[in-house]
Amino acid sequence: MVKQIPITEGLFTWPSEKPQLIGGTCKTCGSYYFPKRSIVHKPGCLNEDVEEVLFSREGKLISYTWQYYQPPPPFKSSEPFVPFGLGLVELAEGVRVNGIMTDCKLEDLKMNMDVQLVARKLYDDEQGNEYMTWMFRPI
């Protein structure tokens, strides 16, 4: 039985048909950050009263590129390497998140276009288990 396994646990809700990034917010200064372990405060706030937040799945594509070379380890992908898109996405909460662009070609991408978060396979192992990460797709 093939399993779909997040490459790193605790970054997005899984299993889920509508996965969301698991981030955090500070109850004092109202900062948003991702992932929830990488706590960020607004300057001047020294409180650590933070709570978990599931971020909106929809956002705007601030910028993008298409990467034609295989990045160095620990990146792993299915063989042979296939060039892929990367984007910076502003979610409804204002926090900006980098991610792989999926279900698209370079020509499909436009500045400020609406995109949606999905969880997809980056690579699999010999047993056929699929290792998942978050990605964005044009809506």
């Binding site: 490459i7 790193t8 970054l11 981030g23 900062s31 948003y32 950050y33 991702f34 992932p35 372990r37 990488s38 960020v40 607004k42 300057p43 601030i62 910028s63 993008y64 590129t65 298409w66 990467q67 034609y68 070379y69 990045p71 160095p72 380890p73 620990p74 990146f75 792993k76 992908s77 892929f84 990367l86 984007g87 910076l88 502003e90 909460e93 204002g94 926090v95 900006r96 998140v97 980098n98 991610g99 792989i100 370079l106 500045m111 980056l122 990460t133 978050w134």
Partner: protein, 393 residues
């Protein structure tokens, strides 16, 4: 604070030297700097050394290792890491030591040997953002620059010709520099025909990763006159870090806070430069040439604006008009820049400083910027690290 002079510089040429260790290169640069200053190793009262990140424990203790190599003299050693801006922090620590009166004569030194290919992480923690951005996103440093570049193209109409031209103008000077790794003048066609790496940036529009080392001897200005009749002054050294809300997607980051409209792009570099200007008591209008961190053609266009040499969106015009060349308003990277050197992370800002000194001494041969009296070296590194050094005659 005392006035601080730079009296000696030394550089091991940039390239790939698989037969050597980083200490071979650093020791060479240190000996050259001592020779240039006319002082001995025994005269050095403190060593500020760049950490060599890929060198294991020896790399973390680079200054102590160098001390063994050149002779253990018991003086203070400080080992410093600040990503690609490491050497500016190395210079700052040495500078402060003399300026404060702690020491009279000090050495700033760094050597680095890059792993092949795109620079990897040394982290093993999946929650470290610098590990996570590779593991979960495959986001290499040039991909961050490509995304910034695309925004600039959208905002200011930058063309692929501008991106190619930034490389060709640097390569003109690199071809004349005996310490450069790539001593070749590139044509626009060659650059435009190079492989697309991270759209819109091509292979020849992104700096290579290199091996290299450089060292500088500094001393108090009153003592400097013992060694040279024409000492140069380190007018200001400034460091900076990233501000909350910076629009820039800085290499190493997985996620960023919301954009703040009142925070400039590359805020860490903006802040570093303002700190250096304040220390030096001068502004960009007083500076005759600039060694900037041209990690990519985007950096070449963005940095003069970030540092206040001209307004946002003006670099393309300046480039087209030849204003970034010798004889122009602001000659940029007369050394040939990263485009001709490739980057040897921890040592790069010291290489920039060496070029600034050669230029101000009038020793740059065919690369010489005529009449240069004040020069600036600007660094830029991972996760919002940056520093600026201003040197004057």
């Amino acid at each position: 604070m005392r006035e601080v002079a730079v009296i000696g510089i030394g550089m091991h040429k940039w390239g790939k030297f698989p037969e050597n260790t980083f200490l071979d290169l650093a020791a060479y640069a240190a000996r050259e700097a001592l020779k240039d200053a006319g002082v001995g190793w025994m005269d050095v009262e403190m060593v500020s050394s760049g950490i060599y990140k890929h060198g294991g424990d020896a790399g973390l203790l680079s200054g102590n290792m160098l001390m063994s190599r050149l002779g253990e003299i018991g003086v203070p050693v400080v080992n410093i890491w600040g990503a690609c801006a490491t050497a500016t922090s190395v210079v700052r620590t040495a500078h402060q030591s003399v300026a404060s009166g702690e020491c009279d004569l000090v050495m700033a030194v760094a050597g680095d040997m890059s792993p092949l290919g795109m620079l990897p992480t040394i982290s093993k923690d999946p929650m470290d953002p610098i590990f996570m951005r590779f593991q979960m996103i495959g986001l290499s440093n040039p991909a961050y620059w490509a995304m910034e570049c695309r925004q600039r193209m959208e905002k200011y109409g930058t063309t692929e010709l501008h991106l190619a031209k930034a490389k060709t103008v640097c390569s003109k000077y690199g071809a004349l520099n005996p310490n450069a790794r790539y001593r070749k003048e590139f044509t626009i066609e060659e650059v435009l025909n190079s492989t697309m790496v991270v759209d819109p940036l091509r292979l020849f529009e992104i700096c290579a990763t290199s091996d290299g080392a450089a060292a500088v001897v500094m001393c108090s200005m009153d003592k400097a006159r013992k060694y040279t009749t024409k000492p140069l002054t380190i007018a200001g050294v400034g460091l900076g870090s990233r501000q909350y809300g910076d629009p820039t997607d800085s290499p190493g980051m997985v996620a960023l806070p919301p954009t703040a409209t009142d925070v400039p792009l590359l805020s860490e570099s903006y802040n570093a430069a303002r700190n250096a200007y304040r220390y030096a008591g001068i502004g960009p209008e007083d500076i005759d040439f600039l060694e900037l961190p041209d990690n990519s053609s985007w950096h070449y266009l963005q940095y003069p604006e970030t540092l206040g040499f001209w307004g946002p969106g003006e670099s393309e015009h300046m480039l087209d008009e030849g204003e970034t060349m010798k004889g122009g308003k602001l000659p940029i990277c007369p050394s040939g820049g990263f485009a001709a050197f490739g980057e040897a992370t921890a040592a790069q800002a010291l290489a920039q400083l060496c070029e600034v000194v050669w230029q101000l001494r009038g020793d740059s041969g065919e690369r010489q910027v005529e009449g240069a009296k004040v020069g600036m070296a600007q660094s830029y590194g991972l996760f919002g690290s940056s520093g600026s050094i201003v040197v004057k005659k």
